[in-house]
Subunit: 158 residues, 4 copies
């Protein structure tokens, strides 16, 4: 059965909140999910998941170094994660503060792994973003994104 890893880095708690909202969407779609702080993710685990959703606060327009470090080390499984499903989300302090480029930077890493990613025509297009604490708009988009990625993972990997 398909299984998704939601892996986040969070200091203020905003990205963590987004992670659990996305988790709610994945569960609603009936897909198994583990949600973990990046510091609790063992490199070896990566090969066990069918889908991956990485979340980070927006740090200088990209993912926080601990997320990037895990992605860098994931080279150990380069080629083995091909055709799995990927996704990304980010919280930031400002509109125009780099959240889109953070989401795109993570998606680029996942495309380099050969993963499959999806956008959304009506939510946050590239992946969920929140300005500070997720508001109603962001909550809805996180749940919606969780459902979309979960559904895609089920279609491709079950």
């Amino acid at each position: 059965m398909a299984k998704i890893l939601i892996c986040y880095y969070s200091r203020s708690g905003n990205t963590k909140r987004m992670a659990y909202l996305i988790q709610q969407g994945v569960i609603e779609e009936g897909v198994e999910v583990d949600t973990k702080n990046v510091k609790d993710v063992k490199l070896e685990e990566l090969k066990d998941y069918d889908g991956f959703i990485f979340g980070s606060p927006t740090y200088y327009g990209g993912p926080a170094a601990p997320i990037k470090d895990l992605l860098d080390r994931s080279i150990k499984f380069h080629g083995k994660l091909q055709d799995r499903v990927g996704g990304a989300f980010s919280s930031s302090a400002n509109v125009g503060g780099g959240n889109e480029t953070t989401v795109m930077a993570i998606l680029q890493s996942l495309l380099i792994h050969g993963m499959v990613v999806c956008g959304d025509s009506s939510g946050d297009h590239y992946g969920p973003v929140a300005i500070d604490r997720p508001d109603k708009r962001s909550e809805k988009n996180c749940i919606r994104y969780g459902r979309r990625v979960a559904k895609l993972t089920r279609q491709l990997r079950d």
Copy 2:
């Protein structure tokens, strides 16, 4: 049965060559495909395809205006192309000349439509690029990409 549109803009013929190499890959995967110059694509046709692969020479780091114009006008079907499959390719004059940002710009447009896109762990990661006339490396990557996008389209849309 799933059907893919390869839509290109080309002046020197390099992007057109890439289009037909990608077409070859799509056909090898047994998926129906139309390959058209952007000037021959009617807006209404877009709703008839399950997958879309857009190609452009690298013009100032992004797709040529005629490709962007079609993408802009595709707003007529906004929301209706959700969950279809997307892809992108680009030819350019130089390494480091903007081909990756061109491919990513097209993929971003397709993600905003809610499409599903795939990277590649061993070819050109974001989508095929060629420096000038496609060489052996680029030929192989184009065919490989055609197969990958076709397979994904079949999985999701047949």
Copy 3:
């Protein structure tokens, strides 16, 4: 004396509003400025300006085709605009809707011309963005950005 062109495409009027706010900042800094709708910009004029600020609504994550078309045709002056100053701004319907990638796409085009661009540590970092009609935050950031680009143009080109 240094002179800046602000060139915008606008349908709803939001991007045009941003253009005139940015113009206000340029004027406050004592730099000459022309603000024009892209349809009124003659290609030949480009060589007469020391700085360029391009603005577009966010269309599928990038600049509208008429802006891209002008950038594409500016190849006529490729190499001649080296070391001039560039800038970008965008209005969009949604947070996370592609405004940052639109600003970055324009900046990439200007970098390919060899131009000099500046970010901002406290306003909209890559360039001003507005969600719908520019609000107070966006107004302030537009004026601030106009001043920053004008000052840089003066420093480098006067």
Copy 4:
């Protein structure tokens, strides 16, 4: 007198080679320069430089985590590096392998600091890239970029 820091991360030696080629260009322009491995850069030093050129191998389409970590920690001086000069370079294993997105990711970080960056109309447009060991083309572009960033730093900061 203006002073530039070239800060690199390198494992194979290719990015380090690029760093010293860029250094050569900076010196040719008569600007003072320190070239350091990222592990030898103390956070406090950042405030002492007028220009910064960061280089990294292309790791999953972005800068290596140690470079990103330094950029993340540079928040300590957020606002204080405004109007200084920035630049970026990257080495990678493949064409289309993410080198442009790596250079752009670093430039985005520097724009968020409010820095001023320049492209190049005839070399590698966003910043120097090398495929494997820098070849003649790449050597020339590195030296050229060093000169360009040095000249800009002198103009703005001397």
